[in-house]
């Protein structure tokens, strides 16, 4: 049978019973294009099923399948991919994927679409955006994007268009630890889990929220090197199961335990005085503040026994400096996120594990690594600078308050788009252009997002599916998946410099384009083409490598290249190996390390345990301090969320292979709590609070505190276009209130809910 459009639909109607959306306009099903052509030998590329971007090796098998494994060249990734990574091809030719531009034909969000050509899509965008710009100014259009290469191209468009309002999902997910690191260390810091002998973890569930090299590093440290893992988390997660000790800490009280650890380190004289004297600013103020934060005090708040906090702290100090307190990833547990992440960093600083094996360290990019080596060990990459970009005078909508200024480079306060749209604070937004971002799932207070989308004059979404957010767009631009795209070379330096690249593995299916091309073409239509001087990705890559063709070939062939030996500045063994390798290397200090070269990009050049800068930005917050917070009403249960290994937040729930592994997120309830309400596993329940109400079903399990309920995030979509995911499970964002945490600018991820059997 010839697979043309008509016969395909006929076949689909007969074969896929119950799949009423077989012919969603613009979908692969509607276009009938299903064959997969591409490289049959393995191509080195990088994954995009989550944000870790693991190096992969992929090839087309029998024109039918794409086999995706890890790239063995990237040692710390070990040639492995997780279930999400392995399922990439299932997204590629999913019949529900959109591969043709669409325009809305019904009401916004109603689900009525018509296929259009790219040219018409660009025309609609240019007309509407230029109209808004003429009437209200360019700054009244917000641009938001998934982070990575995509972000760079969309934000460049925003700049040339004249809007300062660009956003990533940072404030809905990882901004907390990044902002706190900036305040204390002057920039991002990494953790050397693989060499750690003692790891204290506050619910950073690396065994479900998989980051391949960190997950592997931690497992290796635990299983092969006998590292001890202590986990504080209200839920019995996989990381709690793998821990040597697990404490079901009360939600939102992590900061108390972290401060009690700091208290004990100082009070029991366990901290590294030399390190503090040499590198730390503001220790005395900090020590004075934590004087009152005894383990007994923390026990009363957190339910973690004081004697355990004390013992754990002593064990941790004994293993130091090859020991660390994991500073976490996603989640604003409370509005005191900034203090909590700083307290976690402080517990590291006090044992002096900075730039030591098994502790925390800074990424060594080519430029700094070469300086230490005294020779060009690793090539440096160039950035294409575009001259004479228009100057933007308008203020960003989120920077009305000085206290958030540590946040900007990580993408701003995403949720301020809603305030600006609904309340004209600080001024009125009229348009929103989004690229592969799904705030309807990842931001809080879903109802407010719907309201905002409906109020805007014009909304553009570029994505792979009509996601919950894209469902409210006026124009939908179908992006090529990562398996169909080439991208820039990216820096992934760790203890030594490393680069990697994303490359196309299969021919483009349908009529999609990579987003770098989409935004360049939109710019052309807007009359801004002059600011996009590169022709295509090849020109850009060539520019990056300064026309060094053999370098480009090497990066493309290997997909991942790293240079030199791992280096940590205060680790004598590593410095020794480094110096032996490079004869022109900077000579080590007396103690045979590079300790004197360790500096920090803070105002004082030191680690700022207490910070004048922060005090000025947010009065009262210069010194790390405990403040009581109210997370829920007395008659409510704590509601917390987390990640599962087979899904990525709000992005993969409709991917067939992953949906078949998990399409629903039951609510975890403790047997005692469930017993009071007569709820058994599998019962239908309503979960509600002042923000929203959701229906789901119960999973009764002892793996959760009696005062807390838990759900994996990302389920319960509400637009019918995501046929596999819609109506399945609890939509977490619909229950979380709209609150922004001080300094970090983050959304809140813990709240109170009530439950009723239905």
């Amino acid at each position: 049978m010839k697979l043309d459009r008509r016969t395909f639909i006929k076949g689909a109607g007969a074969g896929t019973a119950g799949c009423a959306l077989a012919a969603l306009p613009g979908s692969i099903a509607a276009l009938g294009s299903v064959s997969v052509k591409g490289s049959e030998t393995s191509i080195a590329s990088s994954c995009e099923m989550c944000s870790t971007r693991c190096p992969i090796s992929a090839r087309v098998v029998n024109g039918k399948n794409v086999s995706i494994l890890g790239n063995k060249k990237a040692k710390s990734f070990g040639g492995a991919v997780c279930a999400r990574g392995g399922a990439g091809h299932s997204l590629l030719y999913d019949k529900q994927r959109i591969v043709k531009p669409l325009k809305r034909v019904g009401e916004r969000g109603e689900g009525k679409w018509a296929e259009i050509e790219w040219d018409e899509a660009y025309r609609l965008i240019a007309e509407n955006l230029n109209k808004i710009k003429a009437k209200h100014g360019a700054e009244s259009v917000a641009f938001s994007s998934k982070s990575g290469s995509l972000e760079g191209h969309l934000f460049h468009l925003a700049k040339t268009f004249g809007s300062p309002n660009t956003f990533t999902h940072a404030s809905t997910c990882p901004a907390g630890y990044v902002v706190a690191a900036k305040a204390i260390f002057g920039g991002k810091i990494k953790r050397d889990l693989s060499n750690s002998k003692y790891i204290i973890n506050f619910g950073h569930n690396l065994y479900e929220g998989i980051n391949m090299s960190e997950t592997r590093g931690m497992m290796n440290a635990q299983m092969e090197k006998g590292a001890k893992l202590v986990v504080f988390e209200p839920r019995f997660s996989i990381v709690a199961d793998k821990a040597d000790e697990w404490y079901a800490i009360k939600p939102g009280t992590d900061v108390a335990v972290a401060l009690a650890i700091c208290h004990t380190l100082i009070n029991d004289d366990l901290y590294d005085k030399d390190f503090v004297a040499q590198y730390v600013e503001g220790f005395d103020e900090f020590a004075k503040e934590v004087k009152n934060y005894t383990p007994e005090w923390a026990e009363a708040i957190s339910d973690v026994p004081a004697e355990d906090i004390r013992r754990i702290t002593h064990e941790y100090a004994a293993a130091a400096p090859h020991a660390l307190v994991d500073f976490g990833h996603r989640s604003s547990f409370t509005t005191e996120e900034f203090e909590m992440r700083r307290a976690l960093y402080a517990a590291n600083v006090l044992v002096g594990n900075i730039e030591r094996k098994g502790g925390l360290y800074f990424g060594k990019k080519a430029s700094s690594y070469n300086k230490y080596a005294g020779e060009k060990v690793a090539p440096t990459l160039s950035k294409p600078g575009v001259k004479d970009l228009p100057k933007i005078d308008a203020k960003r909508i989120d920077m009305v308050d000085e206290q958030y200024s540590l946040l900007w480079s990580s993408g701003g306060i995403y949720q301020t788009i809603l305030d600006a749209t609904l309340e004209a604070v600080p001024y009125q937004l009229h348009g929103w252009v989004m690229s592969r971002t799904n705030p309807m799932q990842t931001m809080t207070d879903r109802a407010r997002i719907v309201e905002s989308m409906q109020k805007l004059d014009f909304v553009v979404a570029c994505d792979l599916y009509i996601t919950e957010s894209a469902a409210y767009a006026d124009v939908f631009l179908p992006e090529s998946t990562y398996l169909e795209r080439d991208e820039e070379i990216k820096d992934k330096s760790g203890k030594n410099p490393a680069y990697y690249v994303r490359q196309r593995v299969v021919d483009t299916i349908g009529d999609t384009k990579p987003s770098w091309q989409i935004w360049k073409e939109v710019a052309d239509k807007l009359g801004l083409g002059e600011y996009f001087p590169w022709e295509n990705m090849q020109t850009l890559q060539m520019f990056q490598v300064n026309k060094d063709v053999s370098l480009l070939d090497k990066i493309k062939n290997d997909g991942w290249v790293s240079y030199g030996k791992p280096l940590m500045l205060r680790e004598p063994g590593m410095v020794n190996t480094f110096v032996a390798e490079y004869p022109n290397a900077i000579s080590p200090d007396e103690d045979k390390t590079y300790a004197s070269h360790l500096s920090f990009k803070t105002p004082s050049g030191k680690i700022e345990l207490s910070s004048n800068k922060v005090e000025k930005m947010a009065p009262g917050r210069g010194v790390i301090k405990y403040r009581e917070v109210t997370m829920k009403k007395a008659d409510e249960l704590f509601f917390i969320q987390g990640k599962v290994a087979v899904h990525t937040n709000g992005a993969t729930q409709n991917v067939p292979m992953l949906a078949s592994l998990m399409s629903d997120n039951a609510l975890w309830i403790h047997p005692i709590t469930a017993g009071h309400m007569g709820i058994s596993s599998g019962d239908k329940i309503r979960i509600y609070n002042d923000t929203g109400s959701e229906e789901g079903h119960a999973l009764v399990t002892p793996g959760i505190r009696p005062d807390t309920v838990f759900a994996y995030m990302g389920c319960g979509s509400k637009n019918k276009e995501l046929a596999r995911a819609t109506g399945k499970g609890i939509h977490c964002g619909n229950l979380l209130p709209h609150v922004t945490s001080p300094v970090t600018g983050m959304n809140l991820h813990t709240t109170g809910v009530k439950i009723a059997k239905i």
């Binding site: 086999s67 494994l69 040639g79 997780c82 279930a83 065994y207 997950t215 087979v646 067939p656 078949s660």
Partner: protein, 190 residues
């Protein structure tokens, strides 16, 4: 039989992430509704706070004394020289005796080929190319090891020599070639 291929699943290292399940699918063209392998995260067992999960690999056990082979009337289910319990699609008459006989309930009918299917240690897809099985290569935490237990220098031999291990339902006399290293918390539960 010179080779004795076995698979070792270290339940300490397993995180139940299903990467093995997904990689097996794309490598062996396993249709959506069925599966050659699943890792079931069971539990938590125990009393709060001394809880633990069990990470149970459910796939063909590659029995040395395979009930599925014994009942097959046509020789479609057979054991190869390498000891791998295999299926000859051409000889299969679809009687489903093997599916019924498997005490581990890991044989299924492939909805596309209409023939019984199950884990074959990636014999045709990857072993043929000299590669490790897909699940073993892809496992993020290196919970899986595959190799020849007759070779005393192999990783699997060394694991079996040095680590406490168990097999499922040994009382049935099927002699499974999937070995499991129990979680230090969970202990052995068969």
């Amino acid at each position: 039989m010179t080779k004795r291929y076995v698979l070792v699943h270290d339940e300490n290292k397993c995180i139940g992430c299903q990467a093995c399940n997904v990689a097996c699918r794309s490598e062996n063209n396993v249709p959506e509704s069925v599966t050659r392998i699943q890792v079931r995260v069971e539990g938590p067992y125990g009393n709060f706070p001394n809880l633990h999960f069990k990470y149970n690999r459910v796939s063909c056990e590659q029995c040395e004394d395979a009930p599925c082979v014994k009942v097959c009337p046509t020789g479609a289910a057979y054991v190869n020289d390498d000891g791998i319990v295999s299926i000859n699609e051409k000889k299969c008459v679809g009687c489903l005796y093997c599916v019924a006989a498997c005490p581990y309930k890991v044989r299924f009918i492939n909805p596309e080929t209409r023939v019984p299917d199950k884990c074959d240690f990636c014999k045709e897809s990857r072993l043929a190319r000299g590669e490790d099985p897909a699940c073993v290569s892809v496992c993020p935490t290196q919970a899986l090891a595959f190799g020849d237990a007759n070779d005393s220098t192999s990783e699997v031999s060394q694991l079996l020599d040095t680590k406490n291990h168990y097999q499922h339902k040994v009382n049935l006399g099927t002699k499974p070639r999937v070995y499991r290293i129990p979680s230090r918390k969970g202990g052995i539960k068969v």
